[in-house]
C-alpha cells in the first residue's frame, strides 16, 4: 500500500469548517425526539468552547421533510431556504450551522443547484423579494453541527471528566457509529471522509477513548426515509432496515450506538422496542437493548453533564448499562424528576441565552 497516495485521496475528503461566529439553525423534529441534545450542543459551544453561536427566533423549518416526502415542490423549498439565508445575512453571520442532517443535505443540494443553474437562483431571489422584500448572501461556510464537534473533539477530550472506557475491565467501549444518509451520501465531498469512510463520528469516538466497530451493514440506512414511516402500513420497510443493521452488528457485541442525524437515534432506539415486542429479540448484551445516543449526548456525558439534564430519560432503550460501564455518577431516583435540574425549573428564554 502506498501511504502517500492514500493520504492524498483522504485530503480530498476533508472539509473547511469555520472557527467561530456560527448561525445555528435547529431541527424541526429533534426537539421532540431528544430535546436535551441541542441544548447540550449550545452549552458546550458557548460555555465550554466559548464560541459565538447565534440563533434567530424567526428561523422556520427548511421543509426538508416535505420536500423528501414529495409534498413540497423544490422551488418552494428553495424560497424558504433563501429566507433562512436572508435572516442570517440580516443578523450579520456567514457561517451556517444546521443541527439537522437533512437540512444540511438540503442546503448543500440547493447551493449546488444554484451553482450549476444560476438562473434558478435568480428566480428564487426574485420570488423572495416579491414575497418578503428580503435579500440574501449565500453562506460562506456550511458545516453540520457534528462537523464542528468533530473539529473541537480534542478540546472536548482535554476537558473530559470521563472516557468511553469500561471502568471495570479498562477496555475501550465498542461503539457503532451511524451516519445520517443525507450527510455525505448525496455530496461525498461535503462530508469528512466522504460517503464510504465518513470519519466524523469515528473521530470523536476514538478521541474520547472508545473503539469503533466495523460490521457488514455499517453504511446501511436506519430506515427513517420519510415516506416509509409517514404511512403506518409501510413502517414494516422502515423497521426492516433497522433490523438488518441490528442483526449485522449483534455478533460484534456493541456497547452503544452514536448517531448524528435527527431520525437515526429515534428509529434505532424505538425500533428496538418494536422488534422486541413483535419478535422477542434483543440485540444488546445480557438480554438488554443497545443504548443509542446523539453525538451531543455523548459529548455531554464525556464532559460530565448530568445524564438526566441531557435528556437521556427520553430514550426508550435504557441507557443505564452504558452509564454504569463508564462509571458515570447519576441518581436513578431522579430519572423522571425534572425539578431537581435547575436549568429546567428556571423560567428563561432559551434563545441566545
Amino acid at each position: 500500500m502506498i501511504l502517500e497516495g492514500k493520504k492524498a485521496i483522504w485530503n480530498d475528503y476533508q472539509k473547511e469548517i469555520a472557527d467561530d461566529k456560527y448561525y445555528y439553525v435547529r431541527s424541526c423534529v429533534r426537539q421532540n425526539f431528544f430535546p436535551g441534545s441541542e441544548t447540550a450542543f449550545l452549552k458546550i459551544m458557548r460555555e465550554e468552547l466559548k464560541k459565538d453561536v447565534y440563533e434567530h427566533p424567526c428561523h422556520t423549518t427548511c421543509t426538508g421533510i416535505g420536500y423528501h416526502g414529495d409534498i413540497v415542490p423544490v422551488e418552494t423549498t428553495m424560497t424558504v431556504v433563501a429566507r433562512q439565508f436572508a435572516i442570517m445575512t440580516e443578523a450579520g453571520y456567514e457561517n451556517l450551522l444546521p443541527s439537522c442532517i437533512t437540512s444540511f443535505g438540503l442546503y448543500t443540494e440547493i447551493l449546488d443547484t444554484w451553482h450549476h443553474f444560476p438562473e434558478v437562483e435568480e428566480k428564487v431571489r426574485r420570488q423572495l423579494r416579491k414575497a418578503t422584500g428580503r435579500e440574501f448572501r449565500k453562506p460562506k461556510n456550511l458545516a453540520h453541527a457534528s462537523d464542528v464537534i468533530y473539529k473541537f473533539r480534542k478540546e472536548i477530550a482535554s476537558k473530559a471528566k470521563y472516557k468511553l472506557v469500561n471502568k471495570n475491565t479498562g477496555e475501550p467501549l465498542k461503539v457503532v457509529d451511524h451516519i445520517g444518509c443525507h450527510y455525505a451520501k448525496m455530496f461525498p465531498s461535503k462530508g469528512i471522509g466522504g460517503a464510504e469512510y465518513p470519519y466524523v463520528l469515528a473521530g470523536m469516538v476514538e478521541e474520547w477513548g472508545g473503539n469503533v466497530i466495523d460490521y457488514p451493514e455499517r453504511r446501511h440506512c436506519c430506515g427513517f426515509g420519510f415516506r416509509q414511516y409517514l404511512v403506518q402500513a409501510n413502517r414494516g420497510f422502515s423497521v426492516a432496515c433497522s433490523k438488518e443493521k441490528f442483526e449485522s452488528m449483534k455478533p460484534f457485541k456493541p456497547d452503544m450506538i452514536i448517531t448524528n442525524c435527527p431520525g437515526c437515534p429515534m428509529f434505532l432506539d424505538r425500533w428496538q422496542y418494536v422488534i422486541n415486542e413483535m419478535e422477542g429479540k434483543r440485540y444488546g448484551q445480557n438480554e438488554e437493548g443497545i443504548p443509542v445516543f446523539t453525538y451531543e449526548e455523548v459529548a455531554g456525558l464525556v464532559l460530565g453533564y448530568d445524564p438526566w439534564e441531557l435528556g437521556l430519560q427520553m430514550h426508550q432503550t435504557d441507557c443505564e448499562p452504558v452509564l454504569d460501564k463508564i462509571g458515570i455518577d447519576y441518581s436513578p431516583e431522579d430519572k423522571y424528576n425534572l425539578k431537581i435540574i435547575p436549568s429546567y425549573s428556571e423560567s428563561r428564554s432559551l434563545i441566545n441565552v
Partner: protein
Amino acid sequence: MEKFGFTISKGRQIDYESNNRRIAEYIFENEPSFRLCFECGGCSATCTTANFTGFSLRELNILIKRGENDQVRSTLKKCMLCGKCTLVCPRGVNTRNIVVLAKQAFQKSDEYEI
C-alpha cells in the same frame, strides 16, 4: 404481540448463495425477447387463469430473473398456455414461450442437463 398496524418486512436482497439464475439464463438464451420485458403487468391483467387462481406472469418473470425458483416451479402449472398475454405485450415478448421454456428448464435442471 402489540398491535402496531404493520409487520416487519422481509429483506429482498438477492442472495447469490441461495438464489439460482440458471433457469433465467436458459430462457434468455432461447427466447431473447425475455430481456425486453419491463414488468408492466399487461400480461397479468389480461390473463384468464389469473381470475381464478391468482397466477401472475409478471410476478413469475420477476421471480425467474431474481432466481427465486422454488416459487416459480409451483406456480408454472397454473398457466393454460392460451397465449392471450402475447397479444397484449407492448414490447412484443413471446410470453407463452417463456412459460414453455421455464418448464423445459426445470425438467433439464432435474436431469442435471443445465
